[in-house]
């Protein structure tokens, strides 16, 4: 009796979760199918009609996209912004994280508390002053400008994460390395970085996705020649409805990279996002 009821309950739970799963999948499936349909078909009916008429589906929109100079340029800009940002954040934060964890310098504690406090500072507050500053330095509208802004606003979390991770290292390990006469630089390269690899990987993935997906910062700091894919697509949204054959494959192009990264590095990704959620 009890077993029957439990079995029935489990069936209901399964059914409920299947429904939720389908609800989660549908918008994505809709985008993908829309990206495979011609503008004419889209004008005639919803993407679900393609399920009954698979003849509507083709990769024509994608081949057109690959010939679209604006999209291609902005795709490369996205790469040129997110890769250097990721490398810089990881390197700068690893150096600082190690110093905050194991080296002695004046005002170490208060400075680190400042970093913790900066964790939640919204990027919005930086937009205006940094735009003025970059204007004076000639960085406004350039890729290095966008990168620098991202690096600065990625640092509090990155330093916080790495400092805490490095602080867990066994003290004996570092002492032994110092006894062997290693310089701090050598210890950092040979010991700290290899030991910190899991944290560095999580940070790198999280940071990469954060910047890859950014629109707000680039919207302000990039000009038309340095703008990433998100901004390029955003500028085409105004005619929404008439240009789904460009927007849908474009959006798919922009999300496929992070989704592949997500599935390739699930564990690191989840850890990175979890830890990064304090931002």
């Amino acid at each position: 009796m009890n077993a029957v009821r439990r079995g029935l309950g489990n069936g209901l739970v399964q059914a409920f979760l299947v429904v939720i799963g389908l609800i989660w999948l549908t918008p994505l499936a809709g985008l993908f199918l829309s990206s495979l349909r011609s503008a004419d078909d889209t004008a005639k009916g919803g993407w679900w009609t393609a399920l009954a008429a698979p003849g509507q589906l083709s990769f024509d929109n994608y081949s057109a996209l690959l010939k679209n100079a604006g999209i291609i340029q902005s795709f490369w800009n996205t790469v040129l912004i997110s890769v250097p940002t990721t490398v810089l954040v990881v390197v700068v934060a690893a150096l600082a994280g190690y110093a905050f964890a194991w080296l002695d310098f004046p005002a170490r504690e208060p400075l680190f508390l400042l970093v913790v406090a900066l964790l939640v500072v919204p990027v919005q507050i930086g937009l205006l002053p940094v735009a003025k500053l970059f204007g004076q330095l000639g960085l406004f509208g350039t890729i290095p400008g966008v990168v620098l802004f991202h690096v600065a606003y990625g640092l509090p979390f990155a330093v916080f994460l790495l400092r805490n991770y490095f602080a867990e290292m066994p003290k004996e390990m570092l002492e032994a390395a110092r006894m062997d006469g290693g310089s701090e630089w050598r210890i950092f390269i040979r010991l700290v970085l290899p030991v910190g690899r899991p944290a560095l990987a999580s940070l790198a993935i999280f940071q990469f996705l954060w910047v890859w997906n950014d629109m707000l910062v680039a919207l302000l700091f990039a000009d038309s020649s340095s703008q990433p894919l998100t901004v390029e697509l955003q500028s085409q949204i105004r005619q929404f409805g008439s240009n789904i054959d460009v927007l849908a494959p474009g959006a798919f192009l922009s999300l496929i990279v992070p989704v592949v990264v997500f599935f390739a590095f699930q564990r690191h990704f989840v850890q990175g996002v979890m830890a990064g959620s304090v931002k």
Partner: protein
């Protein structure tokens, strides 16, 4: 105890005290310089691009739009006077009140339920995946899903098909009667016979305005049915399209080639009350058997002529904010579920087992044991979401169509619009930025305190 002092102690032991003290000081200074070189890049970037802007924005918020005149707190009072900014404050409040609570609740329910199935990992991956998708892509996805046209937006397609399954489709939105041919147009859109009819009568109700190609499949000629006479206690008739394809028919009469109108609702009314109702057959005929004698009117209710249901205006003025919150749920539910799930796996198994042994049912266990034990995790998830929700920008910017943008606006989008998007009032914009900062200060204090506690 720091690394350099350790190094000093280690090296100083075997050497003479005076020389070693001197050397130790030098090593110590050298160590400090190296340490500063390690932190300097980070401190410079943070100082120039984060700390300085905060100070600058606070100062700038006390100046007017052009930045030349000191206006004190005017920008802050303006914030609560300007209707657009007030709307943004109101909408951000809605976001903060609704989204984190919904997400935490949904995440909790799913985290508990997903433990009961074997494919938990696959489910978690699927729900977590939207976290990898940019707000821009999610925005395009949901612009598409929320499209008002049921032939484009999947949500309205679903709503319309559910609605039509329950309420039925009206078959003849364009049909109407000619003036003076026996049918009166009611103010509610219905049609009824202008003269009273009695059992034993047979009526013909002619309508026009339906294109022959719009007739339901299977509609047949009404001529034969119109010729049948009624039994003494029944009222019968035919609803037909008073239009002969190719011309030649007479108005007001059922000609040989004129079609009946099937699936039409018909009601028999007496003294203003519906006493019988039916639906026409494929030749447009209907009959009300077993009527008591008396005077009746035959009515074609308005539902026959209602315009087709078009679904919900998701991105209209009233629903746009809930709709965007819906998209936000799609992105963040997986996060809440996985984080709460991680907390769930640390719960003491024995407590749950003991309760089960004592005969507690699943609901009692959930309510009395799981939720209280999870309270700290739930708080962290909730607080995290509140911080993120306050800063929501891209989704609103992308999903809300131009004309409704001002109805959907939140603090972050308003700050953008005021400073860069045409408003060009950087004084007010800075004040809005400072307001955003003030709103996250509790979280800042919370973080700093939690960190200091963890260091002790």
């Amino acid at each position: 105890m720091t690394a350099t002092t350790l190094a000093k102690e280690a090296s100083s032991a075997p050497v003479a005290p005076v020389a070693s003290a001197d050397r130790a000081r030098r090593t110590r200074r050298r160590g400090r310089i190296i340490a500063l070189l390690f932190v300097l890049p980070a401190l410079l970037l943070l100082g120039a691009l984060v700390v300085y802007p905060v100070v600058f924005s606070v100062g700038r918020s006390f100046f007017d739009a052009s930045g030349t005149r000191f206006v004190g707190g005017d920008n802050y009072t303006e914030m609560f006077r300007d209707p657009a900014t007030l709307k943004a404050i109101r909408n951000t409040t809605i976001w903060v009140v609704v989204a984190p609570a919904l997400l935490t609740g949904l995440g909790l329910i799913l985290a508990v339920l997903v433990e009961k199935v074997r494919w938990a990992t696959a489910f978690k991956l699927l729900l977590f995946m939207p976290m990898a998708v940019s707000f821009l892509a999610a925005g395009i996805i949901f612009r598409l899903a929320y499209d008002e046209d049921p032939d484009k937006g999947v949500l309205n397609a679903a709503v319309v098909s559910v609605h039509d399954a329950f309420a039925g489709t009206s078959s003849y939105p364009t049909a109407r009667a000619r003036e003076g041919q026996g049918l009166i147009h009611g103010t509610d859109g219905s049609y009824r016979t202008s003269t009273a009819v009695a059992p034993g009568d047979s009526v013909t109700l002619g309508l026009v305005g339906v294109l022959p190609k719009d007739l339901p499949a299977g509609a047949g000629p009404a001529y034969a049915a119109a010729g049948r006479s009624a039994a003494p206690d029944e009222l019968r008739g035919v609803v037909y399209l008073d239009f002969t394809p190719g011309g030649g028919g007479r108005q007001g009469e059922v000609d040989r080639r004129e079609s009946g109108l099937p699936e039409m609702k018909v009601e028999a009314m007496r003294d203003g009350r519906t006493v019988a109702s039916t639906t026409t057959a494929s030749d447009g005929s209907f009959r009300f058997p077993g009527l008591a004698s008396g005077a009746y009117t035959v009515e074609l209710p308005a539902s026959n002529f209602a315009p087709p249901y078009q679904g919900v205006s998701w991105l209209g003025r009233t629903l746009v904010t809930p709709a965007i919150i819906g998209a936000y749920l799609w992105i963040w539910t997986g996060f809440a579920m996985v984080l709460i799930g991680a907390g769930l796996s640390t719960l003491p198994r024995d407590a749950l087992e003991a309760a089960r042994m004592d005969g507690a049912n699943e609901w009692q266990i959930f309510r009395r044991i799981t939720v209280p034990l999870l309270a700290p995790v739930l708080t962290v998830v909730f607080v995290t979401l509140v911080i993120n929700v306050m800063k929501v920008f891209d989704l609103v910017y992308i999903i809300a169509p131009g004309p409704v943008q001002e109805d959907a606006t939140v603090l972050a989008t308003q700050m953008w619009l005021v400073s860069f998007g045409g408003g060009n009032n950087q004084g007010l914009g800075s004040a809005l930025g400072v307001l955003l900062l003030l709103l996250v200060i509790p979280a800042m204090v919370f973080n700093v305190r939690r960190f200091r506690r963890s260091q002790r």
